[in-house]
């Protein structure tokens, strides 16, 4: 069923794009859909472009694992549209033709701006493409039962087909369709979640028996964990960074890794899940991996308003949140740790951590707002980049050229705000629903929303997965159109001034789309396993640093010069990418100790955005203003 719905959707999308291919014979048709898209359609297509894998898969996954901190992304992503509407929409529509570069270069005709803006568009698009491709692989893996890498290749191939056939016209209608379906079916899913209510023993409507994790009382003597419990034998003890202790125990004849939790001097061994690869064989929870022996989905309430065995029945949307916010409600969340066992094998352990509702429903589990100054700065940096990044994303900016007038640009932005804002409210319910319905894959939080849908039946899972896949297709299409525009239109046509007729320009765009799609496939495979929202947050930081200062100052500071704009774009790119490359999160990706990272911030915006603004001002003051 899931595969049928999924394939039917994909075939329909490709068919639509082939049909719309007739509209893309000219470069205006290819890059800007002829500038004749209705503002209502464009507004929902904006939502389709924007509600990417990061929003649907990443945010829901992050809320499912760290609660309210994931919702901060929803708030920041939506707030960014205010900058787009009030500051950028109409002026940009008046200035540009097909691309971001056209807009910033409109008053200058500068080769420096053309080159810098085109490179910036390419880099931001690629940064944004990575999480989309990662999301694609994550989705296809459980749906079609094919490896992550093949899922990424499949998405890449379909998207290249869509973009190469019809460019912006097909991308727009795919986005419109996907944006509308995503909002409708997410509403259905949230309705189902609150009607089901909350339970301390979620069993997915009786289809998956609730698994009760065992715990054993223990003691710590001279640093060694000991237990007097009958039938329990401690075989090995390992302490990991941060002082967490894990023990490999034989419990009722089964060997597995357990977490030794210590609270007020009382030690409790908590049953966990583990994955270890010995040679070519993978072991899950101590036994060889098989179709039957996989990681169990996790996430449940240990206590509802102080009651350890409760079921609420249907709740209103406010009651649902109120119960989860209660300090007497306890949520079982799952963390990940890695260690090397006595045999020298790398073990990944997923262990339980109980958190009270009032802690889940306010910031602090992921972003340490009560932490050190640096940790607080990191939070501030993220919120700044989210706020300023939207209006600087090339694939969002080019959508302003698909409507006929500046007023249409404004109206389509308002439709986008309504649609996106509504969807982001839904993400809180979907994420929390996944958190308490035992629908989180502990090894990959990105699948929380589709797995939540599966708990309501295969049909909803199939539809939601197909939409999620279309989400990836649509966003990747938009990004590839933006990136191919940067190569074929900005670099080849405008910067290098390669002589091409209109037909050749379209062909150059299609060839560029093919190459960029290939690069995106490779990056999607390399970045497997990272949370897609986190990666998109970084793309926002790069966009806000490289592009936004140029757009804002161009519109509001008459002294802005071409060299100032070019310099600020270059500094914004280099600073943001440099800070990311040496950040703790990337050090983890390289396999290095994140504590050794020379840049202590994970989010670069707070340094790179002001730096880019300052560069623009200083260079503009030092160089003469020359209008074209």
């Amino acid at each position: 069923m899931a595969i049928f719905v999924f394939l039917a959707f994909v075939v329909f999308v490709i068919g639509l794009s082939l049909y719309l291919g007739n509209k893309a014979k000219t470069s205006s048709g290819y890059y800007a859909a002829g500038g004749q898209i209705h503002w209502g359609v464009n507004g929902i297509a904006f939502a389709g472009d924007y509600l990417s894998a990061a929003s649907f898969l990443g945010i829901c996954g992050m809320i499912a694992t760290v609660g309210y901190d994931g919702f901060l992304y929803s708030i920041g992503y939506l707030a960014g549209w205010i900058v787009a509407l009030f500051v950028v929409a109409e002026p940009l529509k008046r200035l540009g033709k097909y691309t971001f570069t056209d807009a910033v270069d409109a008053n200058y005709n500068s080769r420096g701006i053309k080159l810098a803006a085109a490179v910036s568009t390419l880099i931001v698009s690629l940064c944004y493409l990575i999480p989309q491709m990662v999301g694609a692989g994550v989705l296809v893996e459980p749906l079609l039962g094919i490896p992550h890498a093949w899922g990424v290749v499949m998405v890449g191939a379909i998207v290249i087909t869509i973009v190469a056939t019809a460019g912006m016209a097909s991308t727009t209608y795919v986005q419109f369709l996907k944006g509308a379906l995503l909002i409708v079916f997410s509403t259905v899913l949230v309705g189902a979640v609150v009607i089901r209510g909350l339970s301390t023993t979620p069993d997915q409507a009786g289809t998956v028996p609730f698994y009760e994790y065992a715990h054993v009382e223990a003691a710590k003597v001279d640093g060694q964990i000991q237990t007097a419990e009958a039938g329990v034998e401690i075989l090995e003890q390992v302490e990991v960074k941060g002082g967490l202790i894990f023990v490999r125990i034989n419990y009722q004849g089964k060997e597995n890794w357990w977490y030794a939790s210590e609270t007020d001097g009382v030690v409790t061994l908590k049953e966990s899940q583990s994955v270890v690869t010995r040679g070519t064989e993978k072991f899950i929870n101590g036994a060889p991996a098989s179709a039957e022996n996989q990681l169990r989905q996790v996430g449940n309430l240990e206590q509802i308003r102080g009651d350890k065995n409760a079921t609420t029945g249907s709740l209103s949307i406010f009651e649902y949140l109120a119960v989860l916010t209660d300090k007497e409600t306890i949520v079982r969340t799952w963390k990940t740790a890695t260690l090397t066992d006595g045999a020298g094998e790398k073990v990944t352990i997923y262990y339980p951590k109980d958190v009270t509702g009032d802690r889940i429903m306010r910031p602090g589990l992921k972003f340490k707002v009560e932490g050190t100054l640096l940790e607080r700065l990191d939070f501030l940096s993220l919120m700044l980049a989210l706020f300023l990044g939207t209006a600087a994303l090339p694939h969002i900016l080019i959508r302003y050229y698909t409507v006929p007038s500046p007023a249409s640009a404004r109206k389509s932005t308002i439709v986008a705000i309504a649609a996106i804002g509504f969807f982001y409210i839904l993400t809180l319910f979907m994420g929390l629903g996944a958190m308490v319905n035992a629908t989180i894959n502990p090894a990959d939080s990105n699948m929380a929303a589709p797995l939540l849908a599966r708990s309501f039946g295969e049909l909803l899972f199939a539809v939601i997965s197909a939409i999620a896949f279309a989400t990836v297709l649509g966003t990747v299409s938009g990004l590839i159109v933006a990136a191919s525009g940067a190569v074929a239109h900005d670099l080849m046509d405008r910067y290098l001034q390669v002589k091409m007729d209109d037909r050749q320009k379209v062909m150059a765009g299609k060839i560029s789309a093919f190459i960029i799609g290939g690069i995106a496939i490779v990056l999607g495979i390399l970045f497997k396993g990272m949370n897609v929202t986190f990666l998109v947050g970084l793309a926002f930081a790069v966009a806000a640093s490289a592009n936004l200062p140029a757009i804002i100052m161009l519109l509001f500071w008459k002294r802005t010069t071409a060299k100032g704009i070019a310099a600020s774009i270059v500094v914004g790119i280099v600073a943001s990418l440099g800070l990311i490359a040496f950040s703790p999160d990337l050090y983890s990706l390289y396999g290095l100790n994140p504590l050794d990272a020379p840049i202590p911030l994970s989010n670069p915006g707070i340094i790179s955005i002001p730096l880019s603004f300052i560069t623009l001002v200083v260079v503009s003051l030092l160089t003469p203003k020359q209008k074209a």
Binding site: G35, F86, F318, D358, M361, P363, I414, I417
Partner: protein, 106 residues
């Protein structure tokens, strides 16, 4: 060689008004957003205070940031349209008068 827009936009006499209005509304929303970030950084426990129907400040403020964005957007659009209509009427009257005066001279 300058690069002209994808679709030609007529001169917009309401442009300066819309830009001023946009900046003020942007400043208002920025302050609202900045206050949210500031409370989180300076007094994170305040976010746990229950303020409405069992919901804490973090949830209510988060929803408010989304809803206020939409309300501001609708108000902005209504004001822009009103101003655009005013200018359109004035333009119509002006062109009507000039046609009449031309006829009078003839």
């Amino acid at each position: 060689m300058l690069h002209e827009p994808a679709t030609s936009a007529a001169k917009d006499p309401a442009g300066p008004y819309k830009m001023r209005l946009g900046i003020w509304m942007f400043v208002f929303y920025s302050l609202f957003y900045a206050s949210f970030v500031a409370i989180n950084l300076l007094s994170p426990l305040t976010m746990a205070a229950i303020v409405f129907a069992g919901l804490n400040l973090a949830t209510v403020y988060g929803f408010a940031l989304i809803v206020v964005a939409l309300i501001e957007a609708l108000v902005y659009d209504a004001m822009c349209r009103k101003k655009e209509a005013e200018f359109a009427r004035a333009e119509k009257q002006k062109s009507g008068k000039s046609v009449k005066s031309k006829k009078g001279k003839a």
